[in-house]
């Protein structure tokens, strides 16, 4: 019984993450300013790190957690670089 609960909740959580990433992608395409797009891209990366965690549980392979670590690390650098670019008067 617990196995069935876990497998169904894995399916539900994966679906929620897919829907969430899809909705944030809409904001990424629509966003009026560059800052909106940067925020959307940041959230997409964070959600991707979470989805990789869900995938690691689904496949029973803990090695995938490294992907989450690297995503979380790279995302921060990207966001700060975009903010620096904005503040130095780059192209909007």
């Amino acid at each position: 019984m617990p196995d069935i609960i876990l497998s169904w909740s894995l399916i539900a959580t994966g679906a929620m993450f897919i829907i969430a990433i899809f909705m944030v992608t809409l904001r990424l395409l629509r966003g009026p300013s560059l800052a909106d797009r940067v925020v959307a891209l940041d959230l997409i990366g964070t959600l991707a790190a979470g989805a990789v965690g869900v995938y690691a549980i689904a496949k029973n392979e803990p090695i995938y957690i490294f992907v989450s670590i690297v995503l979380a690390l790279v995302l921060f650098v990207g966001t700060v670089a975009f903010a620096y670019h904005l503040e130095k008067g780059g192209e909007r």
Binding site: A12, M16, P62
Partner: protein, 139 residues
């Protein structure tokens, strides 16, 4: 029992992520969108990582997933603050129902004080910098 706990945590994480996505899609303003995105995204991924912790029950995996949580909790507020600051200073429009803009008043009072002070020393500085230039060729 642990599997039920892990699935509960997973569903909570998914719900929080979905909430953050709804927030970033429906909020009226870059700053409110940022508010929704950073907090709920971090909490959703945090729940999923705790679920990874509970499911595998292994020291190395737990340390790695807690590392992800610690890193997100450290960097997400910084990234949000930096982006909000940049967006404010390139004058991204605020929502038309924004009630209070404290940073605008702070900048206004700063620039009211600022011109009085540098205006007086400025001519002295010019003289001081031009005099050595004239003296130097003679020496």
């Amino acid at each position: 029992m642990m599997q039920v706990l892990a699935s509960l945590l997973l569903v909570f994480g998914g719900l929080f992520s979905l909430l953050g996505a709804v927030g970033i899609l429906r909020m009226p303003d870059i700053f409110t969108r940022l508010q929704a995105a950073t907090k709920t995204g971090t909490l959703g991924v945090g729940f999923v990582m705790v679920a990874v912790c509970v499911h595998f029950q292994d020291l190395g995996v737990s340390v790695r997933s807690l590392l992800v949580i610690a890193f997100l909790f450290l960097t997400a507020p910084i990234a949000g603050h930096v982006i909000a600051r940049a967006a404010y200073f390139v004058s991204t429009p605020l929502w038309n129902k924004t009630a209070l803009d404290e940073l605008k008043h702070a900048i206004a009072s700063d620039s009211k004080d600022a011109p009085a002070q540098p205006a007086a020393p400025a001519p002295d500085d010019d003289d001081a910098s031009s005099r050595p230039m004239r003296d130097e060729p003679a020496v």
